[in-house]
Point group: C2
């Protein structure tokens, strides 16, 4: 046999062996190397996710869903990134009011601005929702969408979380980032549907989550189209246009997507109706709740918590077939290590 | 030379000749066979579109735009399909009120319902905007989004245009369908941004235009999340949530897409701000107006028209560098022949 023919045969054999091994791998315990969710411990939550994705992507299978209908929606605060000790966006808004204070000398003697500037958060809190809305209004209204996005970018680049001493955009849940990538690799469209402000989230959603701006749904202020120095701008008004929370979430989903999701992840009772709406559609559905039960690596809270309160969801998840994800036992890590 | 080798050589020669001819074709006047816009006559409008798409897709070129930012927006009524003698959606709404009349005996004696049911359109028109809004309210409010979509589907399957005697969904502009396909083949996202109702357009946008529901932006009513017989539904309310017209269009674009389009097509002054907003962005931009100047094949109207009034756009297009498309001279056909 001439040398070249022998080398060809050897290559063909190696090739066949490689193909055979790849096909056999899952049965031989080699699957670990290609685990799409390495930050998820083996357990019912992970098994449910893998089984669901396998079922809806199995061409010709009974639960098959065409790619155009593979819509997965995710709450943001407490589901994709942290929300304690206060919503990260609220941290931003308070920092922005402080940054704007030099141009507003009248704030020096006017609560709740005075209290915030003096660092008296107890007095701010005593002002209740009214004080908070006043501060939020000052942080948002009057800015063009481009000015506001620049302010968010600056803040994300400099501000740090009080406990973890890391930029807020690093305090995203590593297992959820894996899940988002895994879903997209399986033809899903991943959407954020959050009570948070849409102009705030869009600044980092693409870079941090891989979710483009048109797949971010959130609360919003009225915008006014104006010409400034001959150039058109969109100016944020001090009036809420849409509150994307609770029963507002299915409305926000319908308005933005026009299709019912087949998969929804939330973490608080503010997500209840989103999960209910998702689950009520025909065919295979997966609704899940991220349960914050890990005080050591993050925070532990649910019933009675002011932020991310979770009661009805916990009470009804079992009967409704919703998956409850334990951050403590289902996740091998919460945040990726600092880069 | 053995036969097989000769046949191989012949095949190689034919192959090379074919490759050579393909490469030469554009220079030899053979380009027609692969013209992506066969319903567009050669002329400045077509040349501008082709040059723009070539420029923004030329990798490494000075006007290159990455695919994620290739957003093209299209008005619907008068830009993608007809709008005369009355907006097609208004035809639907009036037909729906008639269809609902048996369940509303009180309408028999109450204008404008009485007038509509008696076919007295002059009396309806005399009622002005108030009468119209009352009829529109009755056609929309109270229905769930699913009931409403079913009503639109039924109407599209049965109703015909008074002049052309064809289903309304066939009265879409063939040159614009070609343009939508051509843009998508070049990595553009095609969006509809219309003053029309979003729930109405989404029913046919995917099938007729290839635009999925999440890429349809329109006017909308408030929606209320309710449980009916234990199942969640979204019920249309008799209150406008968003008016996606004039200065509302850039707002609607920003809220839904979060990115400024690089290309916009409209046909009336209701689209002026959308074109202005698109053109004001940095880099290459294409804004265009479809001019209805073809009374023979469709309708001729612009200044002073009640529907699709176009004045400021015509006056300023030249100075603003906007392309005006003449339906009469730029299009080889308006509607595709009936199937």
């Amino acid at each position: 046999m001439p040398k070249s023919a022998g080398s060809l045969q050897r290559r063909a054999f190696l090739c066949a062996a490689a193909v055979g091994l790849t096909a056999l791998a899952p049965h031989l315990g080699f699957a670990q190397a290609t685990d799409p969710l390495p930050s998820w411990n083996a357990g019912p939550a992970k098994a449910r996710i893998l089984a669901f994705v396998a079922a809806v992507t199995e061409s010709g299978g009974p639960d098959y869903v065409p790619p155009a209908e593979r819509i997965a929606v995710f709450d943001n605060d407490g589901t994709l990134w942290g929300e304690q000790p206060i919503y990260f966006q609220l941290s931003f808004a308070l920092d922005r009011v402080k940054a704007l204070a030099p141009s507003h000398p009248e704030w020096k003697n006017k609560p709740p601005f005075k209290d915030l500037l003096n660092g008296d958060m107890k007095a701010v809190a005593a002002g209740g929702e009214k004080a908070l809305l006043e501060l939020l209004g000052a942080a948002h209204a009057g800015a063009t969408t481009e000015e506001f996005a620049a302010a968010v970018r600056d803040w994300l680049a400099t501000a740090k979380h009080p406990r973890f001493k890391r930029p807020f955009s690093e305090l995203v849940y590593a297992p959820m980032l894996e899940l988002l990538s895994y879903l997209r690799a399986n033809g899903f469209q991943t959407w954020i549907v959050s009570g948070g402000g849409i102009e705030f989230m869009r600044v980092f959603a693409e870079q941090v989550y891989g979710v483009p701006p048109q797949q971010v749904v959130g609360s919003s202020l009225e915008l006014k189209y104006e010409l400034r120095a001959g150039k058109p701008v969109l100016v944020q008004q001090a009036k809420i246009a849409f509150n994307d929370d609770k029963a507002g979430k299915p409305v926000g989903i319908h308005k933005a997507i026009g299709r019912r999701p087949i998969m929804a992840f939330g973490n608080s009772d503010g997500d209840f109706q989103m999960l209910e709406w998702t689950s009520a559609g025909p065919g295979a559905r997966l609704s899940a709740i991220i349960h914050h039960d890990d005080a050591e690596r993050e925070y532990a809270y649910d019933r009675g918590s002011k932020i991310g309160r979770l009661e009805r969801g916990l009470d009804e998840a079992g009967a409704r077939g919703w998956t409850v994800v334990s951050m403590k036992s289902d996740w091998t890590q919460v945040f990726a290590p600092a880069p």
